[in-house]
């Protein structure tokens, strides 16, 4: 579903991604781990078509939606309008299917997105992404700044969508515990390169990964 | 070595030109020098302080009116010429304290407004001669020597250009000058690294005003009259075009830009004066040239042209600043 080969992305003279190769199969839940500045968000933006690769190829096998880092809502618009604009590509302007999925959003529909709590905002971002009826969802930092129970709730929704609708998910996370729990397979990105990949269970057992990503991360 | 030879060559040509040019060519040569003087200041302001002034013509006017009023009041012309940049710089300091709290397009409009207000006042006040302006300004003189010929004004003008370039060179090369370079790229970053941003900006603003004031002072002695109509808004835009064309924040760039635009407009003016051309041809051609050159350069030759990209292009700037 996502097939990235030998991808190089640079900003001016600085290279953000160096020869990254990564695949996510249809219906798979895959995690991408890495510290701040590893190039995770660069990869997310490249997958979403917002950045142009310097070299290498990116092929996406279906409609892709991105939940960007830091939510990135339209703070001046209402929740309903945020959701409606999520359907810009698909042409779907009626948010009711998303209300069925996330009933809390129906209650918030008339509120301005800018005044919501972090968890509520992440839910709006999630709903907005779902408005484009994606086949692949790239989630950039789902858990960032959220209370553990809120994160768990959203993660459960992701798992459910994956199970019931076969939604492909690439979960970009700093929280390795969450990532390993949710995903069967994971990549580790450091300084713009993929340094390790493999089954979550294996990676969790890898002492280097464990010390770098599990030691400090507590959920 | 190459720089030294090139510099000497340029100096020699600059000095030789007044002797060989006829009076109409000398007029162009003088106006070119005056424009270069103002443009060096604009380029410094845009390239180093990262600020656009759409009102540089106001300081040119202040310099011209200062020198003219003093000369008409019987003060020796030399004192008038010295007072021109001083009064212009002092006005810039006074205006700059509140005005330089503004940035970007706000400052651009505020400086434009400043020029419009000044022109409007000069056109209404009695002591500035209203719309008619001031006339019969005496020739420039030092002691018993009177600058009666165009070539004398050419030497005076280009001595002024040399002075302006020298001052600017020293400012750029100084420690505060290097700090200023950071200012153009990011004011916030400059401020957080301990640079007194506000004071430096004010100094650059006053310096650029002094250059314009000096040019205005020479202008009033050369033409013998000043009026609000001599300083339209377009003249300020013209300096921006020249600075942008030459490459912002470069001393030679400003001179090159002023030369290129002046010669281009002059060439088109002689084209427009050919028989069969409509009467509006000169103004239409110069408007079109200013506009197309400005748009073209900003869009297609942005190297070193705008403060926002100045930092990224510092290497290019080094190579351009052939001294």
């Amino acid at each position: 579903m996502i097939d990235v080969k030998d991808l190089v992305v640079s900003y001016g003279t600085a290279t953000a991604l160096e020869h990254v190769t990564l695949t996510v199969g249809r219906g798979e839940l895959v995690a991408l781990l890495g510290p701040n500045g590893a190039g995770k968000s660069t990869l997310a933006n490249t997958l979403a078509g917002l950045l142009t690769p310097a070299s290498g190829t990116v092929s996406i096998g279906g409609r892709l939606a991105l939940i960007p880092e830091g939510r990135q809502l339209f703070p001046d618009l209402t929740v309903a309008d945020n959701l409606a604009l999520g359907g810009w590509r698909s042409g779907q302007r009626d948010p009711s299917p998303v209300y069925d999925l996330l009933p809390r959003l129906a209650e918030l529909a008339g509120r301005r997105a800018g005044v919501l709590s972090g968890g509520e905002q992440q839910m709006v971002a999630f709903g907005r992404a779902m408005m484009s009826r994606p086949e692949v969802l790239v989630v950039d930092e789902l858990s960032l700044g959220l209370a553990p129970n809120v994160t768990a709730d959203l993660a459960a929704h992701l798992a459910e969508l994956n199970r019931s609708q076969g939604l492909t998910v690439l979960l970009i996370e700093q929280n390795a515990r969450l990532a390993f729990e949710l995903c069967r397979r994971a990549y580790v990105l450091e300084s713009g390169r993929v340094v390790t990949e493999g089954d979550s269970a294996e990676l969790a057992g890898d002492p280097r990964v464990a010390s770098a990503y599990l030691g400090g991360a507590i959920t | 070595m190459i720089r030294l030879v090139a510099g000497l060559l340029v100096a020699a040509v600059t000095l030789a030109l007044p002797a060989v040019l006829d009076d109409s060519a000398l007029a162009v040569y003088i106006l070119l020098g005056l424009a270069a003087m103002v443009t060096v200041g604009v380029s410094l302001l845009m390239g180093y302080a990262g600020q656009v002034s759409l009102g540089q013509g106001a300081f040119y006017a202040i310099g011209a009116y200062t020198a003219a009023l003093l000369a008409l009041g019987g003060v020796p012309p030399v004192a008038g010429l010295v007072a021109a940049p001083v009064v212009a710089a002092a006005s810039a300091l006074v205006i700059g304290v509140p005005l330089l709290r503004l940035r970007g397009h706000h400052l651009a409009f505020a400086t434009l407004a400043m020029q419009l207000i000044l022109l409007s006042l000069a056109g209404q006040l009695e002591f500035t001669g209203g719309d008619i302006g001031l006339q019969a300004i005496p020739q420039f003189s030092v002691g018993s020597f009177e600058a009666g010929s165009a070539s004398a004004y050419a030497y005076l003008t280009w001595a002024g250009v040399a002075l302006v370039m020298l001052v600017t060179h020293n400012v750029i090369a100084s420690r505060p000058g290097r700090a200023l370079r950071a200012l153009a790229t990011s004011e916030t970053a400059a401020a957080s690294s301990g640079i007194p941003v506000g004071r430096y900006k004010l100094v650059v603003f006053a310096l650029s005003a002094a250059f314009a004031g000096l040019a205005g002072g020479i202008y009033c002695f050369y033409t013998g009259y000043v009026a609000p109509g001599s300083f339209p808004v377009l003249i300020s835009i013209q300096y921006i075009v020249m600075a942008v064309v030459g490459g912002l924040g470069t001393i030679w760039g400003a001179v090159v830009g002023a030369t290129a635009i002046t010669l281009l407009v002059q060439g088109l003016n002689s084209l427009a004066a050919l028989p069969g051309m409509p009467s509006y041809a000169p103004s239409v051609l110069s408007y079109a040239v200013y506009a197309l050159v400005l748009i073209g350069v900003v869009l297609f030759l942005p190297h070193g042209l705008l403060p926002a990209v100045a930092g990224r292009l510092s290497r290019k700037r080094e190579s351009l600043r052939a001294r």
């Binding site: 618009l77 | 656009v52 869009l299």
Partner: protein, 286 residues
């Protein structure tokens, strides 16, 4: 008293024209972050076009609409120059629109000469509460009111309007959901052209317009727009009306020669007060 009312209504009409120019500035600035120096030019182009079309015998209505559409096209072309090329910063774009304004001088002089032109509007006058007011002034007020209502509906109620607001609110997020922000920017420029054109068509019958009238128009429009920090249409409208009334009152009560200084001085003061309340960091992107 009736003189006061006449000045007030005339001032409101003048303010409405300023408001239309300013609203164009605000629309463009909100969506693209660019302050469009050529905003006054759109009004001049429309006014001159209208005078020509009416002179060619085209009926009222058709001439005005055609002139406004020409202004919208001018807006679109300005937008293409200012933001059509990727990586143009907001300040570069301001300088480009400055260039567009000067280029327009050349075109306008070739097409219409350098003398002011006028055009007939609504003739006659009516008595409102004892004050005589030209019908054209009422037309200006009415059309402006309708335009602001339509703008509010467009931005608040329509999908396209919300997409434009989204570009203003968070351009990155707009790109994430698939909105082509550059296309939206061009649309904003066209809309700005249309609003400027509307002002030109309404004002030309009141005071003759020439190629360099744009400086007065843009400076007044910008002055009004800074009241609303270049982003808030309603405050901009209020600022424009205040400016129009203040200038007309100043002229009416014998301070006419200073009305420009009053408007410009006010603008500078408002900007400086606003700048004092905002940290530098948020302004740097502009």
């Amino acid at each position: 008293m009736s003189a006061f009312l006449t000045y007030l209504l005339n001032g409101l009409a003048v303010g409405c024209a300023i408001a239309l120019i300013a609203s164009g500035l605000v629309v463009i600035h909100r969506v693209t972050g660019v302050v469009n120096f050529a905003q006054g030019t759109f009004a001049v182009v429309a006014g001159l076009c209208m005078s020509s079309l009416l002179g060619m015998g085209l009926p009222h209505g058709l001439s005005e609409v055609a002139a406004v559409l020409v202004a919208a096209l001018a807006g679109l072309l300005t937008g293409l120059a200012a933001i059509g090329r990727r990586g143009t910063t907001a300040l570069s774009a301001l300088i480009i629109t400055l260039g567009v304004g000067v280029l327009a001088y050349a075109v306008e002089i070739v097409l219409w000469g350098d003398q002011p032109r006028s055009a007939p509007g609504l003739a006659g006058s009516v008595i409102v509460a004892g004050a005589r007011i030209q019908t054209q002034h009422l037309l200006v007020i009415g059309v402006t009111a309708a335009t602001f209502v339509l703008l509010a509906l467009f931005f608040g109620r329509t999908y396209l309007g919300k997409a434009l607001t989204a570009c203003a609110s968070n351009p990155y997020a707009a790109r994430v959901v698939g909105i082509d922000t550059r296309l939206m920017g061009l649309l904003a420029f066209a809309l700005g052209g249309l609003l400027g054109g509307l002002a030109g068509v309404l004002v030309t019958p009141l005071r003759p317009i020439s190629f360099d009238t744009d400086v007065t128009l843009i400076v007044n429009g910008f002055a009004a727009a800074v009241f609303g920090a270049l982003t808030r249409p309603v405050i901009t409208l209020a600022g424009a009306l205040l400016l129009g009334v203040a200038e007309t009152m100043a002229a009416g009560y014998g301070y006419g020669s200073h009305q420009l200084e009053i408007a410009l001085g006010l603008m500078i003061v408002v900007m400086i007060v606003q700048a004092g309340r905002r940290p530098a960091v948020t302004q740097e992107s502009t």
